[in-house]
């Protein structure tokens, strides 16, 4: 296994709540496990678990804010449960790739759908699915979708041109 430097090791700790838990229990074992470069052991072993967790939560709050912007209705339905549920999910899942915020929102919703599907906004779920797909067209009919506190049928049409940009047409029946 290739040796890793301090910054890479520090980054792993910040991204992975399980690894932080292991570090709290036995930092030397974690340094061995991740094959940290010997020169970087002293600085690594001096990290304080409480400070690490605080810094990690700063990063999770940033992710939470991006997800909040993508899922306003779902977040409204979750109310005060949003942060604890997001923390539970995000502490051990880190999104990758160019569209990390979309991936993050999608993975959070997918998990939420397994536990409490009524809390996930159907229109937001459809939007995320389309945004992450390569489809050129998608049409969804939602019999009951809550918009601005009112429940109505909703028709969503998603269109994507040759480039990656896409647009959405929504028709709120009865609004």
């Amino acid at each position: 296994m290739v040796e890793i430097d301090f910054i890479t090791a520090f980054g792993r700790l910040l991204c992975d709540g399980s690894l932080r838990d292991a570090f709290t229990g036995d930092p030397q074992a974690v340094a061995r496990q991740i094959n940290l470069c010997r020169n970087d052991w002293p600085a690594f072993l001096r990290l304080l678990p409480e400070d690490l967790e605080f810094q990690a939560r700063i990063l999770l709050r940033k992710r939470q804010e991006l997800v909040r912007q993508l899922l306003p209705e779902t977040v409204r339905r979750l109310g005060e449960k949003f942060w604890p549920l997001f923390l539970e999910y995000s502490r051990v899942n880190w999104p990758a790739g160019q569209r990390a915020a979309l991936q993050d929102a999608f993975a959070f919703c997918r998990r939420l759908k397994q536990q409490q599907p009524q809390l996930v906004s159907g229109s937001e779920w459809n939007r995320l699915q389309f945004a992450l797909s390569e489809k050129h067209l998608a049409i969804h009919w939602l019999l009951r979708e809550t918009i601005r506190g009112k429940t109505h049928p909703l028709l969503q049409i998603f269109l994507r041109g040759r480039l990656t940009r896409w647009r959405e047409l929504s028709f709120h029946i009865g609004l």
Binding site: D5, F6, I7, T8, F10, G11, R12, L14, C15, P42, A43, R46, L47, L48, D51, L52, F54, Q55, I58, L59, K62, R63, L66, W94, A96, A100
Partner: protein, 261 residues
Amino acid sequence: MTGLGYRRELAAWIDSKPRDVDCLEITAEHFFHGGEEHLSRLAAQFPLFVHGLGLSLGTPGPLDAHRLKQFARVVSLANPDWISDHIAFTRTAEADLGHLNPVPPTRAILNVIADHAREVSERCRKPILLENITSHIQLTGDLSETDFLNELCERADCGLLLDVTNLYINSRNHGFDPLKWLHEIEPRRITQLHLVGYSHIGERYTDSHAQPIQEELIELASAVAGYAPVKAIILERDEDFPVADGLEQEIAKLKRIRGGN
């Protein structure tokens, strides 16, 4: 000069050309995917500075070439007097962390950041400033933080963007005297200041960029302005934007620092 960080939410107020706003600092990443016309219009109205959030100067290995290209494109449109980014890392070889994280004050990291800062400066053909961040972790290395900053500025041949709020927050969270810290920094390197009110999470001080500037920060900033040849002071507000009167009051606080009264 006094000014503020340009944010979309402040556009209408900025368009009204407020009297005390001499300059703007734009965030490079906000213009990575368009907005050229808008940026050119701002550049015609105000002197601009270009501030980066994600070059990740502290990550060992090469800079992200695509990101650097995007950054350089924004710089060429804005034509600022100088550019800046943080003494931090936002990504590793394995993950994008999405936000600024502290680096240990070691010679190895100093060399990484100095080389990266020089590369960015040469690519953009502009002087670069490096900014101190808030750190909730006190990392140790073979240098003190102030020696690290002085040597870094020397090696990278760059200036320091001193975030007064971050200095104050770190001094509170880690229990040191910010004035003693300040007087260990080579004054001629301090070129620009950032200021915004601090916040709290539990007992810790944090930099949510959402509060009016507190009086103790004005005092500290005044001490900096009396110690170093500061050329620009920028209000860095990102959340809970005040209405026009509130913004004018915040900018007036910056003017007070410049005036020294």
